[in-house]
Structures are given as structure tokens and as C-alpha cells.
């Protein structure tokens, strides 16, 4: 027998127009399954960082630090946890160069292509690196997933241009030799 105290009405189908719109919007959107272990982590992040003013960027950084990217199927739970629409969260993720929706390679090499590094030959280094890794001129991830090569616009190492950052570690005064040893090191270590 049903517990009479449970208000039966609330379980039923009647949705408000805005809920309906939301449900329609969710159709075809990637969603994490309820038993996805990543959800617990997202909830932990939300309860740690979600209550501060303007929490979205800190939350997105924490999610990307945890999973290497912000998986599209976690956008819904993040939006819900922060009382934002999925579109708002999606808009923020795609606006900022730092956030990625797909995982990077096992290593990330960011090569500076801004003016100071250009003055010291970074464009040649960049194109050599792309060619050496079989990547298009805009960079990307190698087919074996070992390395992601990305442009960056200044690392604050401009007195020692050209500069790059490998997995968060700065490298400067690069030349063809030092650059290929950086690439070789990460491709081998992958």
C-alpha cells in the first residue's frame, strides 16, 4: 500500500511550459548516466566551489583539472548545480581558449606565436614542429594521442624568446634543436 502522506500529484506528468521547453532542449543532448562515477566528483567540486560569488570559472577549471577537459555530458550537471542554463555554461566554455571539450593528448606543448617570439623566429619553429608531427598548420593532436601542439599568445618569457610551455613547465631560448628534444621527450614518454 502506498504511504498516504506522499502527495501523489507531484509525481505525475504535468510539467510547466518552461520545464517542457527545457526537456525539449535536452533531447539529443549528451547526458551523463546516473551511475557515471564522474558525477560524484562534479558534485564534490560544486559543493566546494559552487557557493562563492561568481563560481563558474573556478568550477570549470576544477572540472578540467580533474578530467583533462570539460566533457559535454557533464555540462548539464554543472549548469544544474549552479542554477544556470546549459546554454550559459556552454557559451562560457566555448568563449575561453583555455577550456576544452575533448581531452588533449597525453602531453600538451604550447608554443608562443606572439610578436616577441616572432621576432626571434618562432614562426619557423612552429611550422617545423607541425610538419614534424604530421599536424596541420594550426596544430592539433597527433594520431597516437601522444602530444597536443597548440599556439599560445605570450608566456611572459619574452626576453628569452622563443618560448614554449610543456605540460605547464616553461621553456625558453628555444631553437630547432631544443624544440625537437622537447617534442621527442614527450612523444617517447607518452
Amino acid at each position: 500500500m502506498r504511504d498516504p502522506s506522499t502527495p501523489r500529484q507531484q509525481e505525475v506528468l504535468l510539467a510547466t511550459p518552461s520545464e517542457l521547453r527545457d526537456r525539449i532542449r535536452q533531447l539529443g543532448k549528451p547526458a551523463a548516466r546516473a551511475d557515471d562515477p564522474r558525477l560524484a566528483q562534479v558534485h564534490a567540486i560544486l559543493s566546494e566551489l559552487g557557493a562563492q560569488p561568481g563560481p563558474l570559472l573556478p568550477v570549470l577549471h576544477a572540472v578540467q583539472d580533474a578530467f583533462g577537459c570539460i566533457p559535454p555530458e557533464l555540462v548539464g550537471p554543472i549548469a544544474e548545480g549552479l542554477n544556470l542554463s546549459r546554454a550559459e555554461v556552454h557559451g562560457v566554455i566555448t568563449y575561453y581558449h583555455h577550456f576544452r571539450s575533448e581531452p588533449a593528448g597525453r602531453h600538451v606543448l604550447e608554443v608562443c606565436r606572439a610578436e616577441s617570439c616572432q621576432a626571434m623566429g618562432s614562426e619557423a619553429l612552429w611550422h617545423e614542429a607541425c610538419a614534424g608531427l604530421g599536424l596541420p598548420a594550426g596544430g592539433g593532436t597527433t594520431v597516437d594521442g601522444a602530444l597536443t601542439l597548440e599556439p599560445v599568445y605570450c608566456l611572459g618569457l619574452c626576453a628569452q624568446s622563443p618560448a614554449a610551455m610543456l605540460d605547464g613547465h616553461p621553456h625558453a631560448r628555444l631553437d630547432t634543436g631544443r624544440m625537437s628534444s622537447l617534442v621527442a621527450r614527450s612523444v617517447e614518454a607518452a
Binding site: 560569488p53 561568481g54 563560481p55 563558474l56 570559472l57 573556478p58 570549470l60 577549471h61 549552479l82 550559459e88 557559451g91 562560457v92 568563449y95 575561453y96 581558449h97 583555455h98 577550456f99 606572439a114 610578436e115 616577441s116 617570439c117 616572432q118 621576432a119 626571434m120 599560445v152 599568445y153 605570450c154 608566456l155 611572459g156 618569457l157 619574452c158 626576453a159 628569452q160 624568446s161 618560448a163 610551455m165 605547464g168 613547465h169 616553461p170 621553456h171 625558453a172 631560448r173
Partner: protein
Amino acid sequence: MNRIRVFVPRDSAALAVGADEVAARIAALAPAEVEIVRNGSRGMLWLEPLVEVETPLGRVAYGPVAPGDVPSLIEAGFLQGDEHPLLVGITDRLPWLKSQERLTFARVGITDPLSLADYEAHGGLAGWRQAQSLPPAAIVQQVLDSGLRGRGGAAFPAGIKWQTVAAAQAPQKYVVCNADEGDSGTYADRMLMEGDPFLLIEGMAIAGLATGATRGYVYVRSEYPHAIATLREAVASARGAGLLGPHFELEVRKAAGSYVCGEETAMLESLEGRRGIVRAKPPLPALQGLFGQPTVINNVLTFAAVPTVLAKGPLAYRDFGMGRSRGTLPFQLAGNVRRGGLVEKAFGVTLRELMFDYGGGTASGRPLKAAQVGGPLGAYLPESQWDLPLDYEAYAAVGAVVGHGGIVMHDDRADMARLARYAMEFCAIESCGKCTPCRIGSTRGVEVVDRIAAADPQLRPQQVKLLRDLCDTMLHGSLCAMGGMTPYPVLSALNHYPEDFGIAAPGRAAA
């Protein structure tokens, strides 16, 4: 035996050329009484890793030290300051450093950045103590009297901004530090946050006292992981020491790789958790800023100048500089430069002095062709302008900007048309998209520069005119300086280096 102190910088610029390995090598090979201090950088970046040893004569410097040099250094007696091919000299007596006017960078490279005791022993917290003894209005008055103008680019008087926030009535006010430092060729904010983070914290805490703001944020670019880590550690110790606390809470926020988020209202949007789209002004952020509340927004170097103003007195600060540009600016030599690094000088120094006397000319040894001053939105200056005094008004008079003091040098192989194209391309990549001249104009700009390069010389003048018209539209029709100043590098390249665009110089054409 006495302890021997050896200094190996922890600044990113030193780490980027192997300072950690050098420190590890010294730790492994030196006798046990050697203590290794990880200091900030002295700013002589061509000598990094610069290793210093404390001797009775003062600190003796060696550099650039590779890990493989450590055994020979030890053998030569560097721990006593003895001769070695890498010996540079007694650091404080090096002309490159001695001739500078280091007010803001007085401690950077000298102290352990995370030691509050070191900070105080070298004059830290004096400004904060002075501020605590003054009514808020008197603090603001000192900042006004010092003539300090914002160091982030626009050079707006800091005291006036503070006064506006102080006068505003609101339940909550904020202090926000702009540490987005997106300009190529600039690294002074980074060096300060990594090399003397307490100074920034002290400056912001003083801003809190002066304006009645009790919460602060430092918005640091994500490309600076070491600065973020150092600042966060420093904030934790400052809380322990009472500099921060319920009277003023400070949080370090990591940005996410968008250049335009260095524009102050885009930064506020980003801090609030939205896309970094520029807001129209008014309302001024000083009245309706972060979360709609009155907000002081200043650059790292602006806040970092304030403790000196209070400790030494506004008039002592004001004594440096010229015209309406008072105090000092930490200039940053970058690009194709032989001795690149940070040179803090009073306003009024010339580009030629900085690039040749300090910088030693180009790294390539080839003739210097152009210098871009003030970041990607700054003009390219040809040799005829290298003797102008670095002063906000003198630069504005020739269509250039001092900006954040970054100087990017290019040798005679630079193709100025390509650099102009890059300026437009950068604007296209980084535009927030709010206004058409910037969003569409920058993409059109790239196309026009390409067409100039490809065009039949007969058609070129017409394309050049198109580029000028486009720049005019961007200059006058953009909401912020992103679109409004991208024409600076483009037009200066076109005006001073027309041959790179395949057109004769106007003077020659007329002849």
C-alpha cells in the same frame, strides 16, 4: 663553519632555462653548510639562471649557469666568490642594475618571495603601517599627490579612481587587481607576483583601507601557473600575519586564456562567471563594478607602487619622472634583444637608451628596424622616434603609446606588412564580438593586407586607401581599445615602412 647562502631564482624565466636543475645540482654537490635560497629574478634575463653567493663583499653573481657548469664552479671556489669564466661581478655594483631607479622592484631578486620576515626586513609593510595610522581620505590624498597613474595602459590617475570608490555608498565594495598581462613583450606583472607577491597584497590591502572595500580579487592569466601558485601561498601567509583577514579578504582567480578579458569590464564579466564581453561605460566600474558594486580596478604595478608612495611619501615618488608622468615604470626589453630584461627607470628615459645602453642592441647583431612599444595594440616606432622621452603625453603626440612598458625589438629582417597583418589577425581572434568595426573590421583588415601584398602595383594605392579607411572606422567606431587601437600598429607600420607594403614612401612619391 658559517652558513653559505646561495641564491638560485625560482622565477619562471629562470625555470625556463633550467634553474631547478641547477639548484638540484648545487644541493647535491655543495657542502652541507650551503643553504640554497630560491629568490625572484634580478631582471637580467639574458644571464638566467643567475646564481649568486653571499660574500663579505656583497652578493657575487655567476651566469648564465647550466647544470653542467656546477662542478667547475664549485672547483673554482664560487662559494667564496672566486674567479670563474661565468663570474659576472658583485651584483649591486653592476652598472646595468646600479643605474636603474628601482622603487617597485626594489626587493625583487633580493629576498625570498615567500618569506614575510625577509619582506619586512627589507622595508615591507612600512606603507601598510603608515596607512593604518591615517584616515582613509588622507591615504587617497597621498595617492593623488604622488601623481601615480594606472600602469595597465590607459594611465588614468589612480587617486581619482580611489576617491570615486571611497565616496560611493554601498553595502559591499571591491578591489580588483588586473593581472591578465596579455601584451606580448611584457612580463613585469609576472616577475612581481613571482618575486615579491607581498608587495601586491600590501598595495591592495591599502586600497581596501582607503576606499572601504573589504574584499579583493586578483585576476591572473592562466598562462602564468607559477605566479598563481606563488600568490596563493603568499595570500595564505598574509592571512596568518594579519595583513589580510576579516577587514580585507583576498582571492586569487585564474583566468582562462582570453586577451580581451584584460579590458577591465570584460574582466568583471569573467569574474562574475560569464563570457568576457566588454560592458559599455557608463556606469563606471568605480560606481557599479564587480557584482554591481563600487570597485577599484588597477594593474599589478599600480597597486605595487602604492606601498612605496606611503612609506616614502608622495612627494618622494613624485620627484621621479617628467611632465604628468610621475614616478617610475618597469620597462621590459623583449624580442630581438641582446640583453633582455627588466629596467625600472623614471619616465623620461628614451627608447634608444633602453634598447642600446641597457639592451645592447639586437640579439642577432643585425640592424634594429622597429620597436613595438605598449603591446599588440601599440605602435611600431622607427629610428626617428627613438629619442623621444618615454612619457605618456610625448608618446600620444606621435600616435604611440607607452602602455604597460613592454618593448619588442625587431631586426631588419622583420616584414612590417606581415606584422600589420598579424595585428589584424590577433584582433580577429581575440575580439569579444560586441561591435562590428572590431569583429568584422579585423577580418577585413587581414584580407586587405593580403590583397596589398598580392595586388598588381597599379592597384595597390587603392587597397592601401581601403586599409586606411578601415582603420579609421575601427579607431572611431569601436567600444573599447581592442578594436580602437589595433589600427596603431597597422598604421604606424604603413606610415613608417611603406616599402614593406610595396609602396613608395609618401615623400619619395611626391618627389
